[in-house]
């Protein structure tokens, strides 16, 4: 592939890295990443992947921008209140980098559409704000064999993990079933300090870039937990569970189902 003069300038700080170079940049430009959620996490992940020149980014979210999102969801802005979040993110990302094709899908992820959405991508990013989606995305990625970079945030704490189906753990190896609704924080309890999604989303974006260029370690069989108040990062081991219901030796989950639960949805 021949870079244009603009591309040589735009990606020069990638090209001069021995681990990336022109070849790594070509890989980025020809890759496709699906981001579930255009909220607190999806915004910074999509923003950085757009800046890095990931060729195609699919943003999936069925919510509209609300004023209460803007304290942390950096791809949206005041004028876009009421606009579908996926559409708002697309506008922001396209203004940043015209090399990137951003596909905005204003729809809900379900067992019926998720396989079609992820089957031709290179990496899936979970930036969703609820357990039913988190488990659905995990199960779909395991069944289709797509790498998944999963992130979650609440109050002052965030976590990131990278799931390479078959090779490493999956989300269900760690938490086999969804927590009962009563154990999930209620709306009144579920605050988030503004910059937290930027930190966790930045880590997710970095995992995606490393997966695409094929360099460095990723959080396979590991979960990174960040505590903002204590300023601490802990990396904990998450072994692959041979009895995991979806990626174990005798899986009981062999097809997708929709998980509806009475959770509070706060649009993280």
């Amino acid at each position: 592939m021949d870079f244009t003069d603009d591309q040589i300038h735009r990606y020069s700080r990638h090209i001069i890295l021995p681990e990336v170079g022109g070849k790594g940049q070509e890989r980025l430009l020809s890759s496709r990443v699906v981001i579930v959620g255009a909220g607190g996490l999806g915004c910074p992940v999509g923003y950085y992947l757009t800046a890095a020149g990931v060729g195609t980014i699919v943003m999936i979210d069925n919510d509209n921008v609300e004023l209460s999102n803007l304290q942390r969801q950096i791809a949206h802005n005041t004028e876009r209140v009421g606009m579908p979040k996926a559409e708002s993110a697309k506008k922001t990302f396209q203004a940043l980098n015209p090399d990137v094709k951003v596909i905005a899908l204003n729809e809900k992820i379900t067992k019926d559409n998720i396989i079609g959405l992820i089957e031709d991508c290179d990496v899936v990013v979970d930036g969703s704000d609820n357990f039913p989606t988190r488990y659905l995305v995990n199960d779909a990625c395991v069944l289709v064999g797509k790498p998944l970079v999963s992130g979650a945030i609440l109050r002052f704490e965030g976590q990131v993990t990278t799931i390479i189906p078959r090779q490493g753990h999956c989300y269900r190896c760690l938490f086999e079933e969804m927590p009962p609704a009563g154990l999930v924080p209620s709306c009144q309890e579920a605050g988030v300090l503004g910059a937290l999604p930027g930190i966790i989303g930045g880590l997710q974006a970095m995992e995606v870039l490393k997966l695409i260029i094929g360099k460095g370690d990723v959080l396979q069989n590991r979960m990174l937990i960040y505590d903002a108040l204590k300023v601490s990062f802990r990396k904990v081991k998450v072994p692959k569970n041979p009895k995991c219901p979806v990626c174990g030796e005798n899986p009981t989950i062999t097809e997708l189902q929709d998980y509806e639960a009475d959770y509070c949805r706060m649009n993280f």
Partner: protein, 81 residues
């Protein structure tokens, strides 16, 4: 001095750092191992920076030569992908 026949030439006159190295690096990436790149340049700082960076990246710098008042050539052999 021994004449080395380059497999590829790149003209980066008019460019400054870091684009001098960016262009040179892209050119060397396009070569096979063992092939030789000749870089023509007029930015003096790069006559030190490019050889240093090429060596850091595992390539072999065969020569740096001033060819006239304000132009140089650098010859590099690709030894690492």
């Amino acid at each position: 001095m021994e004449q080395i026949k380059p497999d590829k030439k790149v003209d980066i006159r008019g460019l400054v750092c870091p684009y001098t190295f960016v262009r040179s690096k892209l050119a060397i990436e396009s070569l096979e191992l063992g092939q030789v790149l000749e870089i023509l340049l007029d930015y003096k700082d790069a006559t030190e920076n490019i050889p240093k960076s090429m060596q850091d990246h595992g390539q072999k710098v065969l020569k740096v030569e001033k060819i006239n008042d304000r132009e140089w050539i650098i010859v590099v052999r690709k030894e690492k992908e």
